[in-house]
């Protein structure tokens, strides 16, 4: 959230949210179509209950479809009830986002191969680079990246030891000793 020096909220410059709103509505309609397809495969055997296991899935499907249609209609007319201007910049910094998403994706891919500490350290280094760039600072050369990586290891290692050794949570290690 942005504020002027005396604490008033700065409204972000007005952005045309219509394409985004329409996309959200279309996404919901697509999701409900998939849900409907899935719901046809659920048995309707009601037993003693009067409604079967497919009843609530159909309710949710139809309700989401109706919500999607209404949202689409609102967005089409350009009339959304009570939507405040979202916080932050009017336009997204997709480049920075990609680094953070990349960090999480790398973590999901590598955690079982490299173990928790190495994989999370890498995730930290990639994410912190993206977040730093979003602040308008340079991402940094390779020695900065090495520093980020070391900080990532330094955070991940104690967390790993605390959770695996003290709290007996199962997290993957690189070596059989369970310390790395």
């Amino acid at each position: 959230m942005q504020h002027t020096p005396d604490g008033h909220l700065i409204q972000a410059a007005t952005v045309n949210h219509r394409p985004g709103q329409l996309a959200v509505a279309v996404g919901l309609l697509l999701a409900s179509a998939c849900m409907a397809w899935g719901a046809t495969h659920i048995s309707s055997d009601a037993g003693y209950a009067g409604v079967g296991p497919n009843f609530l899935p159909w309710v949710a499907t139809l309700a989401l479809a109706v919500c999607g249609l209404l949202l689409f209609w609102q967005a089409w007319r350009g009339a959304y009830d009570n939507m405040p201007e979202p916080s932050g910049a009017p336009h997204g910094d997709w480049h920075s986002l990609a680094w953070v998403v990349g960090g999480i994706a790398a973590n999901a891919t590598l955690i079982e191969r490299l173990g928790f500490i190495a994989s999370c350290g890498l995730c930290f280094a990639l994410a912190v680079r993206g977040l730093r760039m979003s602040e308008g600072k340079p991402g940094g050369a390779w020695h900065q990246s090495m520093k980020d990586l070391l900080i990532g290891f330094a955070i991940a290692a104690p967390v790993f030891w605390l959770f695996t050794k003290v709290l007996a949570v199962n997290l993957p290690a690189l070596t059989a000793t369970g310390w790395l």
Binding site: V51, P53, F124, I155, V169, N170
Partner: protein, 498 residues
């Protein structure tokens, strides 16, 4: 007071005051305050990330720990909203209104003191009320059958999605998204597989922890990278946490009024502390003496901090009443606490007071202890917490991702869950950008399957006929309440327009 109640409470203190449990309470309060102060993490997501410890730590200890986090975050959250004006919790949004203005004008210390002492007063009074009312309500709730439970859950759905937040349509959309996520996996009653798309990982359903961590923690990091990088928040200076005599005089009636407003709102399945905090703010503004009234919105009025803070803490404490007696969570954190109980195989509901009475009373006793701890932790140590606000945002959010991994991966050791967490994080970014509330997703996710089971049981009782919901007085009354909740705001709006 009933002698039996007194004995049970004393028994609770005996359990909660063992050195180990005291340590858990202290750890919870410290951690809770820290995450409350830090932007980006709320109590719900913290408890969610720590849920894997339920495999190792004993039930009473971990509930005491989680309750400490829940409580501590409320205290810590007010520090941030006063000094930084970026409220982490919805409930402390109102505190930021006056608190930040007071801090701007060099009265940060007084604002922090009135909010900490107010939280203590409200939390303690509300805990006494929980002690008195919860067992009575539990005794009454035993008599409720599946139709009534279903209607109560329907009421919780309605209020969480349709009443709170700006738009009923967007609230309901979130609710049904949550409901749909909750239905994925094996149906509890018929063991039918639903909506898994052939993916084995979906068989056990989608864990609430995963959704909470994805929608709150991960999406916060992603949203910050995408939109908030250039936003600057400025930190106010700390001053001595001393309140003058007139400040005390203006604070205490506001604390009591806030407590009285907050408690009922926390009790009913209407969730959240937004309504009572805003109501308390409006009340204090109205009741303030003329010379103080002009401080509202200008230099900051102490009543405007004291009242809402008390209302917030009182409402938060009161959410334990429906959680413990009915098994119905009315806030996101309560939903996560419910799933912690489920991890232990403990069914929250009216039987809880008989089957797990040790745990319940130890939890209640730990609230009394936690309140005292938090007052001590917050006032003299406030300088320590303020230092946390100086952590730069980039490493903070990147570090949160490491903890998110522990919570999600540690749950069942599946990297599939990490991909799902990322997907939900992206969904969370869209929801935040287009003002879809996230609380209904979590409540729908955890209450949905429970409500479905109650509905199908109710229909079995009624031999397949829907009239079962109309034939029983209690469930009919609840249905009427739901209709009123939905219709009244529209009628009022229509009346105002015409």
């Amino acid at each position: 007071m009933d002698i039996n109640l007194w004995n049970q409470l004393l028994g609770g203190f005996a359990t909660a005051a063992t050195p180990v449990n005291l340590l858990w309470a202290l750890a919870g309060c410290m951690l809770g305050t820290a995450i409350g102060v830090l932007p980006g993490l709320g109590p719900a997501v913290t408890v969610a990330m720590l849920l894997p410890i339920t495999g190792q730590v004993e039930a009473t200890a971990s509930m005491i720990f989680f309750a400490g986090i829940y409580y501590g975050a409320m205290y810590g959250g007010s520090t941030t909203s006063i000094l930084l004006n970026t409220p982490g919790e919805t409930g402390t949004m109102v505190t930021a209104l006056e608190g930040f203005k007071m801090a701007k004008h060099g009265r940060a210390g007084a604002a922090l003191a009135t909010s900490a002492i107010g939280s203590f007063v409200a939390g303690s009074i509300a805990t006494v009320l929980v002690t008195l009312f919860a067992p009575v309500l539990a005794e009454f709730a035993v008599k409720l059958g599946p139709p009534e439970y279903f209607c109560l859950m329907l009421l919780a759905f309605t209020t969480v999605s349709a009443v709170l937040g700006g738009s009923t349509l967007r609230g309901l959309t979130s609710l049904f998204v949550g409901l749909a996520l909750g239905l994925v996996g094996m149906d509890q009653i018929s063991a039918q597989v639903r909506w898994t798309g052939g993916v084995m990982e979906f068989m056990d359903g989608i864990e609430v922890v995963l959704v909470a961590v994805g929608l709150f923690a991960v999406s916060e990091a992603l949203y910050n990278a995408l939109y908030e990088g250039r936003s600057r928040a400025e930190l106010n200076c700390m001053t001595s946490t001393h309140m003058t005599r007139p400040e005390w005089k203006r604070s205490w009636p506001a604390w009591l009024r806030g407590t009285a407003l907050g408690f009922p709102f926390g009790c009913i399945p209407a969730g959240g502390s937004e309504i009572p905090t805003f109501l308390s703010y409006a009340t204090e503004k109205k009741l303030a003496e003329p010379e103080h009234k002009k401080e509202f919105g200008t230099t900051g009025a102490i009543e405007g901090v004291a009242g809402p803070e008390a209302a917030n803490n009182s409402a938060v404490t009161a959410t334990l009443v429906p959680l413990l007696t009915l098994g119905i969570p009315t806030s996101v954190t309560a939903a996560i606490l419910l799933s912690a109980l489920q991890n232990y195989g403990i069914q929250a509901g009216p039987q809880l007071f008989t089957t797990s009475s040790d745990l319940v009373w130890a939890l209640i006793a730990s609230l009394y202890i936690g309140n005292v701890m938090l007052l001590v932790l917050n006032l003299p140590l406030v300088g320590l917490w303020v230092k946390l606000l100086k952590i730069p945002k980039a490493p903070l959010y990147a570090g949160i991702l490491i903890f998110a991994t522990v919570g999600v991966y540690g749950m069942r050791q599946s990297s599939f869950d990490l991909w799902l967490m990322l997907a939900l994080g992206l969904v969370g970014v869209v929801m935040r950008r287009y003002d879809f509330p996230t609380a209904p997703v979590i409540v729908g996710l955890i209450l949905g399957p429970l409500a479905e089971a109650q509905m199908r049981n109710a229909l079995s009782i009624g031999e397949g006929s829907w009239t079962v919901f109309l034939n029983r007085p209690m469930s009919l009354a609840l249905l009427i309440v739901i209709a009123l909740v939905l219709i009244t705001p529209r009628l009022l709006a229509w009346h105002r327009r015409s």
